[in-house]
């Protein structure tokens, strides 16, 4: 009798990874699903800020997929230092924005390999589809990722398997290659047909928009922060709290070494308060308005400018003068300034 195999599934909960999961389960293989927490997930960030604009809280799709298919799932938190160092110095470079997709895949798959070894599993599989993404899912890139992650021969892509060389579990007969698929390209028609066939009805809209690193506005802030650190003579590095701040508030570049972050909502104001340590905390003193943080060591003129911008986003925006209070540790200063009225100047500073 053929031994029953065990596999580690890397799932996002999107259509492709859910189908890959269903295909492998259908072959009677024991599966443990894993889902990576990078800190850059747009949905998680929305949840942290109290849900979507319409008040609904988005569900965690990886958990939903695992629950639907009754598969054990583990969250793997990779949001710390080594992941951030990879983002700043990607060996294979960035895509359109701050997205080093190839390096990120290698990073995740190295972790998946460790989990495979720990769990005594035979292979790892993903929902990747040959040619679906311009860079990270090209044939040569799929191979590169497999090799660099140390998963050579043990990384199965069930949706495209028949277009790729047979993996070890296929050669050993743990997986029946004939029951895997030969999907390639960007069209999702075959996946949708398969979902109907398998009775899967609930999946999130096709992916792509789920990672902040692929977002243009986020990418600008990401590189602006690194450039700012460099200008201030600091190392080009990110720490976990930078990640939270990058997705919070309006960002303004006051000067190469000085940045201003202004809260957009009550939840963001509360969040910014939490990160006031080591930064200057600004807020209008006598009228309601946002909480803002300043990073760097501003000159007198830069302090006035930052104060005017903060005044501009509060209830005192049409007043002749607003008192903006600066707190840095125990030090408190107040600046009486006219709210910045020059929209072009504000836009020029916006990151």
């Amino acid at each position: 009798m053929i031994r029953k195999g065990k596999a580690i599934a890397m799932i996002s909960g999107g259509l492709d990874s859910t189908l890959a999961l269903a295909l492998v389960l259908r072959q009677g293989i024991e599966v443990k699903a894993i889902n990576f927490y990078t800190g850059f997930c747009i949905t998680e960030t929305q949840r942290r800020k109290g849900g979507r604009a319409d008040g609904t809280v988005p569900q965690n799709e990886a958990l939903r997929a695992a629950a639907d298919l009754e598969v054990e799932i583990e969250y793997v938190d990779i949001s710390g230092g080594p992941y951030l160092d990879m983002l700043v110095n990607p060996r294979y470079g960035y895509g359109q924005n701050a997205n080093p997709c190839v390096d990120c895949r290698i990073f995740m798959m190295q972790k998946a390999r460790e989990i495979m070894e720990r769990e005594g599993a035979d292979f790892v599989f993903t929902g990747e589809v040959l040619g679906q993404r311009p860079k990270s899912q090209r044939r040569d890139t799929l191979w590169l990722i497999e090799k660099r992650s140390g998963l050579e021969g043990r990384l199965l892509r069930p949706l495209s398997a028949r277009l790729l060389p047979p993996t070890v579990p296929e050669q050993e007969g743990l997986v029946d290659r004939e029951r895997l698929l030969d999907i390639s390209g960007r069209s999702r028609l075959r996946q949708m047909a398969l979902a109907r066939e398998l009775g899967l009805t609930d999946w999130p809209q096709p992916a792509g928009g789920c990672c902040f690193l692929t977002d243009e506005a986020f990418g600008r802030k990401f590189f602006d922060l690194l450039d700012g650190r460099q200008a201030a003579g600091e190392p080009r590095r990110l720490v976990p709290e930078d990640v939270v701040l990058l997705s919070t508030g309006r960002h303004f570049r006051i000067s190469p070494k000085v940045k201003l972050i202004v809260g957009r909502t009550e939840v963001e104001n509360v969040l910014l308060e939490k990160y006031a340590d080591g930064r200057a905390r600004l807020a209008a003193r006598d009228v309601n308005g946002p909480v803002a943080l300043v990073e760097g060591t501003p000159t007198w003129e830069e302090r006035l400018l930052a104060s005017r911008v903060v005044a501009r986003y509060g209830k005192g925006r049409s007043d002749a003068e607003v008192v903006v209070e600066w707190r840095e540790g125990d030090e408190v200063e107040a600046y009486a300034v006219p709210p910045e009225a020059d929209e072009a100047r504000i836009e020029a500073m916006r990151v």
Partner: protein
Amino acid sequence: MQPLPATLPAPDRTLDATGTLCPVPIVETAKAVKALAEGAVLLVLATDPGVATDMPMWCKAMRHEHLATFRDGATWKSYLRKRGRGAGR
């Protein structure tokens, strides 16, 4: 959401995950459940509203019995009972 049972069992352990953000409550729950005996009841306290959708789904995936998740003031309370490995398959 499932209706609340009339009575809830006394928890064998209480995990305080208040103040942590998703996915930390689930990650901590997974660790806590691992250390529990089969059949033991865990009470999870959380302030991230995501727990209301995540906990029932996580329990279903892991085949633990989800007893209830509900709001109590500013805190969410979630009760679950640990199942034996492979139970219910």
